[in-house]
Amino acid sequence: MDSIYKALVEIVGEDHASTEQEELYIHSRSLGTVEPHQPDYVVAPRTTEEVQQIVKLANREKIPVVPLGGGLSLTGLVMPLRGGIVLDMKRMDTIIEVNEKARYVIVEAGVSQGKLISCLERYHPNLMHSEPMAPAQATIAGNVMIHGQGDLAQPYGFNSDMVNGLEVVLPTGEVCKIGSCSVSPYWFTAHPLPDLGLFLGWFGTTGIITKLSLRLYPCKKINGVDRFLVEDAELIPEILLKITHTEMVGDLVSSIQGLPLAVRGIHIITININGDSEKEIEFKRQLIREDILGEYIRNGDCGFMGTTPDLRTGQQRPTITTVADIKRGGGFEYVGAILPVDTYPECCREGEAISSRHDIIYTLGGRVIGRSHAMMFFWSYAFNRADPESVRQAREALHESDELALKLGGVPWKPSVYGQKLIMEKMEPNTLELMRKIKELLDPNGIMNPGNWEVM
């Protein structure tokens, strides 16, 4: 038996380590368009100690380690580009503590979005975290680690801005705590210690997050959703600016898609209004409708969608997954980029053109981050997984979108290797050199998710 496999079995047990064709196949395939890359081993550890042992082994044997959460970044960030060990973190899924008074939760890295949502809804209904649009399987740590955004993006920013502390296993095997938890039993603040933010946005190339503390926010009882329809994209940035000035809304997203046909060519601004009473909701709603948006409605440029044509009497199904099936092919991938909000019209125009060139129905939109400080604009491309030509077209469209984002002055978010290279080509040389130094310091053997953020 392969001695490395034997060592892995000793660490995690036979049931949770594999070199079999089947596990290697699954982990060689991205949900997106990135070409397959096969790992050599797949392991699912249960504890931080097991992660440490695996990392030490990998260092000794100079084998790459690729940490995996939900695998839903879609841009191939968990592809074992140089083979090695795929480290499936999802067995580490204990919710360790919910601190209601200081509003934070400590979770192991593998806790899924679904599990945390369920726990808070059932036991701490006054608290919520910033829930991303990803399916329930996405992990809290994975999402935070890629600078994800959720439904609290507009009031509170990136999910990575909501981290109070981390426990990480360094590439050389030591366990470190970052934030107040390094000094105190409470994981309630990242500041005021010297900034050790060396693990978010690095895609696991500087270490493996094993625990984290995430800020929780007040969860109101009622979530009202209004949809504001706009034909002229040029109006969107100013409308978003005005809405964010009120400081009365939650999640704020503007999107446009080619299908269903009813909404083709119409931007839909989804305005979430939260409150603990009808009175609160109605007050906010009226303020926004009359004072902020009344002018656009009265001159006929924009209007609020009335009843939605959702007449099903049964349970609501998750919707993000159905976007994946537009081409009846079970696949989609998107370029998300962080951009100034006033680039929205051009993002849409170019996005429609790219989609059309690649025979894909356009699905575009932007989620406001902060008070219009930025937006995450997404260019989404569905493909048919069983049709290589369809996959190729989507891949090309994604590459063009990465290029477009940078051209417009933005930064591709959770970029694929292609996007990472474009970013690094454009980056300030000293900044790039600092990245290289950090990487070399923390990961001298270059075992952590190699191929990503590879500074040449």
């Binding site: 594999s18 596990e23 196949y25 395939r29 839903l72 899924s112 369920s118 994946a324 079970g330 997984r385």
Partner: protein, 396 residues
């Protein structure tokens, strides 16, 4: 069969591997798929399994023992069918069964599955026990052979042969006698209903079992059937009609509910305990019957019924379906679904976990022992609880 001949070739690539198939409806845990719960490797989740099936049919990977084990580790519990957001969600378990059929065709199935099927073919039960012992459970009970009574009491293989499950077969018989129900059994003439055979992909064996059983029932003039096991209930009710066998089929909890409502069972002696109910998959998700068992339990004085957090369509399967009560692909670990389920049952504070399926009964009983929780919780069939409440005489 190449992918081109596979019944679901136009659909199987559409799985996005979003992972909802692993969750119950309330998202509280990610281990509501029994095979995924056991191994926590993506290949064992429904999405992973579908991708592997496609890769195999498309000649991207070879058949191996491990692949077969993954494909046969699915307990056919239908949690994935319940949770998958796609239009084709109803077909998911059928996609896995179709792949199993292909493996059966090629003769490439795990040896323990082969054993299971051969035993049924030869002896009419998966254990390979003699047919002449099938009707032993009835001895000394005064239950008659079926000769045109109102109901055929169909017991099934697990209830006929498994030591613990035989007790439930007998207890239900006592209760039906006490209620004055007109029923008879087939004893040694009873043959396997074929439900697991069908889920294991052996279509021709299933057809032959179904057709033989249907003919036997018809020859006997059977019109109404009350089944001990939800597996039998499912096969006879839903699958036999396609072989021209249409009967009025009940699961025994439905009959008990009506007997109690109609005053034909005096349950006033009650049953004092905090009880939690485990939904069997073939009664619950497969046949949407969540209420009858609960109605029976709620009717019994003294029963305090508490629900586990995962219940009804979100229930965690015991891991015994798809032949797994015999093939045991999901056993041997504290992550085995039955053991997780028992821990959940204990967490409700219940002293009894009630079930309505002999497969679940055997799986959960073994789990109680493996967990060392014999002092904390007992597994009882609903018929046993009803029997105590109506002081039905327990035969020795």
């Amino acid at each position: 069969m190449a992918l081109a001949d596979y019944k679901y070739k136009d659909v199987i690539h559409r799985c996005f591997r979003c992972g909802y198939c692993k969750f119950p409806s309330n998202w509280m845990e990610v281990n509501n798929c029994p095979a995924y719960a056991r191994f926590r490797l993506e290949s064992y989740s429904t999405g992973g399994r579908l991708w592997l099936i496609r890769a195999w049919l498309n000649d991207e990977i070879e058949w191996t023992d491990h692949l077969a084990q993954i494909v046969y580790s699915c307990a056919a519990c239908k949690n994935c069918v319940e949770q998958c957001p796609y239009r084709f969600h109803d077909d998911i378990v059928d996609m896995i069964i179709a792949a199993r059929s292909e493996m059966v065709e090629r003769g490439s199935i795990p040896s323990v599955v082969k054993e299971f099927l051969e035993n049924i073919q030869r002896q009419g039960n998966p254990y390979g026990n003699a047919r002449s012992k099938r009707g032993e459970w009835v001895e000394g009970m005064g239950i008659k052979q079926y000769e045109g009574q109102e109901y055929l009491y169909y017991v099934g293989c697990v209830g006929s042969y498994d030591t613990r499950a035989k007790e439930t077969a007998r207890t239900l018989g006592e209760v039906l006698l006490k209620a004055g129900v007109s029923f008879g059994v087939m004893g040694n003439d009873e043959n396997c209903d074929g439900n697991e055979v069908s889920k294991l992909g052996e279509e021709s064996l299933f057809q032959s079992l179904a057709e033989d059983n249907i003919q036997q029932f018809k020859d006997l003039g059977v019109e109404k059937i009350v089944a001990l096991s939800p597996h039998s209930y499912n096969a006879i009710k839903n699958d036999y009609p396609m072989f021209n066998g249409s009967f009025e089929v009940f699961h025994y909890t439905q009959l008990l509910r009506d007997l109690i409502k109609g005053g034909r069972l005096d349950i006033s002696s009650g049953f004092d305990a905090r009880v939690t109910y485990h939904d069997p998959c073939f009664l619950g998700r497969w046949n949407k019957e969540y209420e009858a068992p609960r109605q029976v339990l709620n009717a019994i004085p003294g029963v305090e019924l508490v629900e586990m957090e995962r219940s009804r369509e979100g229930a965690l399967c015991c891991g015994g379906g798809g032949g797994n009560f015999y093939t045991d692909f999901l056993g041997g670990s504290e992550d085995s679904p039955a053991r997780i389920r028992i821990r959940e049952a204990c967490a409700t504070g219940a002293s009894i976990v009630a079930t309505a399926c002999p497969n679940c009964m055997t799986m959960l009983e073994d789990a109680v022992k493996a967990e060392g929780l014999e002092e904390s919780i007992k597994v009882k069939d609903i018929s046993e609880i009803v029997a105590e409440a109506c002081l039905a005489k327990r035969a020795d």
